[in-house]
Symmetry: C2
């Protein structure tokens, strides 16, 4: 194993390769991706994953299974009565499904949970010698000043003080990383929203927090030391900084994808307008239909890209 | 609904009640615990959960199901061929099982994931008017200078700079909370380890990090900018601060349980000695048997307490 770009870098078919930046991987005979329960010593990664071009990730394992089924239908790869096996079925930490060139992976809730998954996913793509990979987080979020059901494509993830950065603690010291995402990819996804014309789609900043209740100024947690007015003032400041939705994974996702040379986007639907409330009181059916919107948008994008590459 | 201690406070049977500190809950007609998919408007919480005295939480939903089955056997409440229903079966965010006075709940990985669960669990216990509740996190961890398989009962959770505190961001401002746990409960659990004499059990400090790879000085992540020597120096500093294991949830668990008046303990097994390596390369069977140790210890404690209360 080698650190840095994969061998294709110097080959004839020079693609954009997932990047690991860890010289210690050189000295390892095998790499156990513990939370996926996958091992380079017992599985041929290039054979299993080498053709992956799109990775879609989301919090809920059920939703990522449903996305795998949906994309199989969209790409004409669906087999009647087929069950898509969970590649990580012997662990309950994450779920992973593969449909042709598309990998669908769950990441749980919050920065630490997605960060473990991304470390192992980036190593997986690297060991498999994948090239030209696009990765999209499909998520749910709280909106600010948007109709519930609006899909937000993230311009840049911001922290709870509205700065576009992700703070990582390494050896007890703070390291600040950029949360820049791929601007062209965001525009292409916005165009897909326009093509579909089924729901509102916008590009805006996304606030990424470490907590769902106090961290997002909710009034309905077990603890709350601030007033409705304090909450509204905080949300208004976020709005002024260009923030239109709030979730819990985008900042570390952007930072790690940038470090690993992956084209990355974050596409989240808003389940409610936080200026009007905190509780998720819409019916199950309404919330479920909202949650399908990022899947529909990104499914359309993948189909469009694959059709374009067939023609060229 | 009222904030503060439950009504029993002024009643004859004055128990120690779970505390919510949120005046806004007063004005809510119903409370939707979204990530549990439970609603006070449609479920009688006191009838369903009012008898809960012990709550055990852990990252993996499978492990918490297996704990429910185990404790049912230990308490003589097992019914042959019985399936324990997942109370949150209509969501895949968390899993919850109830066996007599014991609730077993999963929390996923990392501080944000357990924090969402704890907000909703504390409100659940409050709405159900539970009293005298003891809560224990059963987990896995990396050890420092301990034989793999040692069970660590946490004295105090520490952050990545070895300070016994949890930093919570509220309205964009940092609030520091104490991570003090119940010292008497820790001693009682240590005594249970001595009673059983099946594996090593110690009381020590636990470091709680936001990341599994760079955040815990691992050399096997997708990124690593430090040397083996840097890693060993960092772990040595942790050891000098009394830290004997590292995991990802204990600090917010301690902080939130303290704020809500719950007797709390953290009991984690160490799966490896981090001074000797980073990869979890032990066999599945060995790791599985290690993971059962916190369950066995806490199962023994619960049985002991329930037998003592029957006698008194």
């Amino acid at each position: 194993m080698a650190s840095g770009f994969a061998d294709e870098k110097n080959g004839k078919k020079c693609g954009r390769s997932p990047f690991v930046n860890n010289p210690h991987l050189d000295s390892m005979k095998e790499d156990i991706l513990y939370h996926f329960n996958l091992n380079t010593g017992t599985l041929n990664f290039p054979a299993k994953f080498g053709d992956v071009k799109f990775v879609c990730v989301g919090g809920s394992p059920w939703r990522m299974k449903s996305f795998a089924e949906y994309i199989a239908g969209e790409l004409g790869l669906a087999v009647p009565n087929a069950e898509y096996p969970n590649i990580c079925e012997s662990t309950d930490r994450y779920a992973m499904y593969k449909v042709g060139p598309v990998l669908s992976v769950s990441h749980g809730m919050g920065i630490p949970s997605i960060s473990i998954m991304l470390h192992e996913l980036i190593k997986l793509l690297y060991h498999a010698r994948c090239t030209d990979v696009t990765i999209v987080r499909l998520g749910t979020s709280g909106g600010i000043g948007l109709h519930p059901g609006t899909v937000v494509i993230t311009k840049q993830p911001m922290d709870a003080t509205f700065l576009p950065r992700f703070e990582q603690v390494i050896l007890g010291k703070s390291v600040v990383r950029s949360t820049e995402l791929d601007g062209d990819l965001a525009e292409e996804l916005l165009q897909c929203g326009k093509d579909l014309a089924e729901f509102d789609t916008v590009i805006a900043n996304t606030m990424c927090t470490l907590d769902f209740y106090e961290g997002q100024a909710r009034l309905d947690g077990a603890f709350c030391s601030y007033t409705e007015e304090d909450k509204q003032n905080y949300l208004a400041k976020a709005y002024a900084a260009g923030v239109r939705n709030i979730e819990m994974e985008s900042s570390v996702f952007a930072a790690m994808c940038k470090l690993s040379n992956l084209r990355a986007a974050v596409v989240c639907v808003t389940l409610l307008d936080r200026q009007k409330g905190d509780q998720l009181s819409s019916s199950h059916d309404v919330l479920h239909s909202y949650q399908q919107r990022p899947q529909i948008l990104v499914g359309h994008y993948i189909k469009k890209k694959l059709n374009a590459s067939k023609k060229s």
